[in-house]
Symmetry: C2
Subunit: 391 residues, 2 copies
C-alpha cells in the first residue's frame, strides 16, 4: 500500500492521479491533498479518499471547508504553510507535485527535504531551480519521478542502458497547431486558433506553449536536470502524431522509444509504482490503426522560443527562470488579445537580453529572478506595446 500526498488535487494531474488511486484501491491510499480555490471538488475528494490532512489557498476557503467537513476527521490548513504540511505529510511515501507555476517550488522542495519520493508534474520546479532541486534530491535520497509524458518516456527508455552509454535524449514535439504555418501567417494567429491543440486536451497556457514550442523548450531544461544530460545531448524532433512520447539514442546506434496513446494516467501510475507497471492504465496502442508515424526537424526560424530555451539553459543560473516567467507574462497578454502571437517570442528575448544571470543557490534566488522577469516583461510590453506587433 503506497501512501500518497497530492499537491494540486483538483487540477488535471491531481484528478488523474485520484482516478488511478480509485482504479487500484488495494495499491494506494491518499494521506494528504492540497488544492487552490475549488472547495466543492476538494470536499468531494476528502469524502471519497479520506486524507488526514488537506490544504486550500486561503484562510477564508479553509474556514468554509471546515464548516462543510464538520462531520469528517481531517485537519485543514491553508496557504504556503498548508501546502508544506501536505507536501511533507508525516505518513506519505510519495508526493505528487502538480501545482502549476512557481507556487509549486517551495512545497516540492519541502517534500524533498522531508525525504519523500516526488512524482513531479510541475514544470517550474526544474526549470527555475533544477540544479538545486536535483542536488537536494540526491543528498536526501528522495527520488524524483517524472509525470510529464515525454520525461516519463525518457525515464523508461533509460532503463535499457547505462547513463554513460547515452548519446542523446530525443524529445518529441507535436509541433503544435501552427507547424505548417508560414512566418507571416504566424503573426496573424489568434488565441482561439492557438488553443486548438491537435492531440492533447490541456490548459490554456500550456496549449499556447505547445504552439510556440516553448513547452518543448521548458521540457528540454527539465530533462537536462532530471537526467543529468548536458544540453548539447538533448535533441527535439517534431512528431505530429504524438504517439512516440520520446526516445533515447545510445552510443552504439540503438534508439529506444516509448510509445502510447496520449493519456496522462500511464505516466502518473508509472511514477507511483516504478519499476512495476499496473494493468490497463492507459488505452492500448494499435499501430496498424495509427498507420504512419512521421518525424521532421523543428524549424527554429519560425519557432524561436525553442532556441531561447536552449540559450537560457546554456547561460545557466537564473536565466531559465527568467525565460519561463517572461513567457508566462507574454502568454497571458496574448490570451487577453493585448499582444500578437509573434510578440510572445519578442517579449521573452527582450527580457532575457535585459537580464544578467546569477547563480541559483537557494529557492529564493529562483523566485527573485522569476519576479524580476515578470516585472521586466510587463515593462517591455507597456513601453514597447506599439513596436511589438500588437493588434
Amino acid at each position: 500500500m503506497k501512501r500518497i500526498s497530492i499537491l494540486g488535487s483538483t487540477g488535471s494531474i491531481g484528478r488523474s492521479t485520484l482516478s488511478v488511486v480509485e482504479q487500484f484501491p488495494d495499491r494506494f491510499t491518499v494521506v494528504a491533498l492540497a488544492a487552490g480555490n475549488n472547495i466543492d471538488l476538494l470536499e468531494e475528494q476528502v469524502r471519497r479518499f479520506s486524507p488526514a490532512v488537506v490544504s486550500v489557498s486561503g484562510e477564508a476557503q479553509a474556514g468554509l471547508l471546515k464548516k462543510r467537513l464538520g462531520d469528517v476527521n481531517v485537519r485543514i490548513f491553508s496557504g504556503l504553510e498548508g501546502m508544506i504540511q501536505v507536501a511533507a505529510a508525516d505518513d506519505a511515501d510519495i508526493t505528487v507535485s502538480a501545482i502549476v507555476g512557481t507556487a509549486g517550488l517551495v512545497p516540492t522542495m519541502a517534500a524533498i527535504r522531508a525525504g519523500k519520493q516526488v512524482a513531479l508534474a510541475n514544470k517550474e520546479v526544474l526549470v527555475t531551480a533544477g540544479e538545486l532541486v536535483m542536488a537536494e534530491s540526491r543528498s536526501r535520497g528522495a527520488a524524483l519521478f517524472p509525470v510529464d509524458s515525454e520525461h516519463s518516456a525518457i525515464f523508461q527508455c533509460l532503463q535499457a542502458g547505462a547513463s554513460k552509454d547515452v548519446r542523446r535524449l530525443i524529445l518529441t514535439a507535436s509541433g503544435g497547431p501552427f507547424r505548417t504555418y508560414s512566418r507571416k501567417d504566424l503573426e496573424a494567429v489568434t488565441p482561439a486558433q492557438a488553443l486548438k491543440h491537435p492531440n492533447w486536451s490541456m490548459g490554456k497556457k500550456i496549449t499556447i506553449d505547445s504552439a510556440t514550442l516553448m513547452n518543448k523548450g521548458l521540457e528540454v531544461i527539465e530533462a537536462r536536470w532530471l537526467f543529468g544530460i548536458p544540453p548539447e545531448k538533448i535533441k527535439v524532433l517534431v512528431h505530429p502524431q504524438s504517439i512516440v512520447h520520446s526516445m533515447v539514442e545510445y552510443q552504439d546506434g540503438a534508439v529506444v522509444a516509448q510509445l502510447g496513446m496520449p493519456d496522462m494516467k500511464g505516466p502518473i501510475s508509472y511514477a507511483l509504482t516504478y519499476p512495476e507497471r499496473l494493468a490497463d492504465v492507459s488505452p492500448a496502442l494499435d499501430l496498424a490503426r495509427v498507420g504512419a508515424l512521421t518525424f521532421e526537424e523543428p524549424d527554429t526560424d519560425r519557432f524561436p522560443c525553442l532556441t531561447y530555451a536552449f540559450d537560457a539553459l546554456k547561460a545557466g543560473g537564473t536565466m531559465p527562470a527568467v525565460l519561463s516567467a517572461a513567457n508566462e507574462v507574454a502568454v497571458g497578454y496574448f490570451l487577453e488579445g493585448k499582444i500578437a502571437y509573434g510578440d510572445i517570442a519578442r517579449v521573452i528575448r527582450s527580457t532575457m537580453d535585459a537580464h544578467t544571470q546569477t547563480p541559483v543557490r537557494t529557492v529564493e534566488d529562483a523566485l527573485r529572478a522569476d519576479l524580476w522577469a515578470r516585472g521586466e516583461a510587463e515593462r517591455i510590453i507597456a513601453e514597447c506595446g506599439i513596436t511589438l506587433h500588437s493588434r
Copy 2:
C-alpha cells in the same frame, strides 16, 4: 577482455562479429573459430585473430589448412567433433552460434553444456529444440543472448519492465518484396523477384523466408522460447521500413520499441557486451530523414506461412522442427525453379498435416523430426508435383 569463440566464422554473422572484434581490440580476443569449406577466408582469419583452435567441415579441408598454417600455432579439427571443440573451447567466455541450419544444434548445445554464454544467431536451435535448449541454459547458468535484430530489440525493450508486466511482444516484419501483391500475382512470382529484399541484404534462403513471412514465423517460435512468452502474447506487425526492430507492449499500455538503421553489428556487439553498449557500432538513425514509419496488420490469407508457424508452436513438440525442415526443402525446390512460389506454403502444410508431434526430450528427437520432415517434403513434392502448381 572477453574471449570469443565463433561457430560459422566465414559466414555473414561470423564476419560481422570479427569486424566488431577488430573495431574493439581492447575488448575482445578470439580463441576459437569454426568454418565450413571456405579455407581461404578461414586461413586469413586465423592469421589475423590468432585463435588457439579452429575447425573445418571435413578431414580433407583440415589437412589442407594444416599445410597452409604450418607456421602458425593453432590446433585444427574437423567435423562435428571439431565444431564441439570450438563451441566449448576451454578459455572461451562466449560462443557466437552462427552456423546455419540444424547443423548448429549439437555444437550450440555443447557450448551451453560447457556453461558458455551463447550469442545466438542460428534460428534452428530454438525453432527445433527451444524448450530443451532453454531448460539446459537455465540449469547450466549459461545465458543466451539474441543476435537477430528483432530478438535483440525485444531483449532491449524488456529491460524497461518486469516480465510479469509484459502484455505482448510485437515482432516487426518488413512484409517482404510481395507485401502488396495479390494472391494471384503471388502464384507467378519467380526466384529472382523473391530474392530482391527491400531493406536487408541476406542469404538466399532467408530472403525467400522473408518474402513468405516464414522468417517472421520462425522468429515468433524463437521469441516464445527465448523470452518465455506464450504464443498468444506474440504479435507480428508489418513495418515496411524496418527501422523499428521490434517492440514490447506492457500491461499499463506503454509500448517500448527499439529502432535503428538495418545493421547486424549493433545486435552482435550488444550480445557480446550486454548490458554495456559500445560506441559507434551501428550507423546513426536520422528519423527526420527517414520521414515516416508505417505499420499494418500482416495478411495471413496471402501469407499463410505465418499462421502455420503459430500452428506449429501451438501443436508443440516436434512440430516446429517439421515446419522448419519442410520449409527448407520447399524453398530449395523453389530456388531451383522446380516448384511455384505458392507451393512453398502447400508443401509445409502437407508435411505438417502428415506429422503427429511427439515431445522433444533430446537433441536427437529434434534431429529425427527434422530428417523425417525433409523426407516427407521431398516425397510430397515428388508425388504431387503436378497438383502443386509447379511451372
